[in-house]
């Protein structure tokens, strides 16, 4: 890893130590399904971060698609009072 000079043009976030990198890799790796099977020392921080961003974006997209479907479904079942009553009784 490159040197750990504390030469900070900005205060705060510019000094990232190697320990933090290791911390990042260990924590985030557990969360991402694609990286879970790999050994921690074989995954670089950059890749972990990249995969994390990709994963969050894909989750966003998935929620988008789901909310799309839900909006269509709700528009169609809104008039169906029987089903609504059943649903309500089951959920409460």
């Amino acid at each position: 890893m490159s040197s750990r000079r504390s030469r900070s043009r900005q205060s705060g976030a510019s000094r990232i130590t190697d320990d933090q990198i290791i911390d990042l890799v260990s924590k985030l790796q557990q969360l991402i399904p694609e990286l879970r099977g790999r050994r921690p020392d074989k995954v670089s921080a950059s890749k972990v971060l990249q995969e994390t961003c990709n994963y969050i974006r894909s989750l966003h997209r998935e929620v988008d698609g789901l909310s799309d479907r839900l909006s269509q479904l709700l528009a169609s079942t809104d008039t169906d009072s029987d089903q609504a009553a059943i649903i309500r009784s089951l959920l409460m």
């Binding site: 043009r9 976030a13 510019s14 990232i16 399904p33 950059s46 994390t52 839900l70």
Partner: protein, 199 residues
Amino acid sequence: MASFTPNLEPAPDTSLQFKPKKPRITLQTPSSCPSNQRTQRIKRWRTQRDQHIYSSKLFQALRRSRRTSASREVHETADRVLAGLARGTTRWSRAILTARKVTKHKKAKLPTNNRLRKPDIYRERRKTPAVERKLKVLGRLVPGCRKLSFSNLIEETSDYIAALEMQVRAMTAITEFLCGGTGGGPQPPADRLPSNVNS
């Protein structure tokens, strides 16, 4: 499809029966033992119970709202309920809740420090720029975390990812439910979901 393998406990209640107990949000103040807090936080979005709570709250919110014909409204409602469940303990949840009240402008321009945009010759002094760049991107993806310190950002990210996964599971369950269980269209990952309603 991304395959989640969340740490779902083999919960005995696989039906959608929601017992109206007080939701056991176990995230205490920071004075509690950190390892304990962290364990609770890990389990936080992954229990069946949390998912049931979220599903029912979301469903009630959706039924109540009259404007659910747009998918954006549904998405925002889902985010809002999700953030509400966090009870203000995480920064992203607070950001979601406050962003709704203020304005609808997406990604309002925060007062970023443009004056600190140094040219490239200064950038080589810091840590690998790729990592820095990606950290910034990550900070933009998680709501409200643009100017967070490193360790906080990691914590927020892990919580946010777990919450998003739960959101996907819950919304998939609701969609299946409304479809009548057999579900047309894209097949949701139904093998882990408590969709035993239509028997």
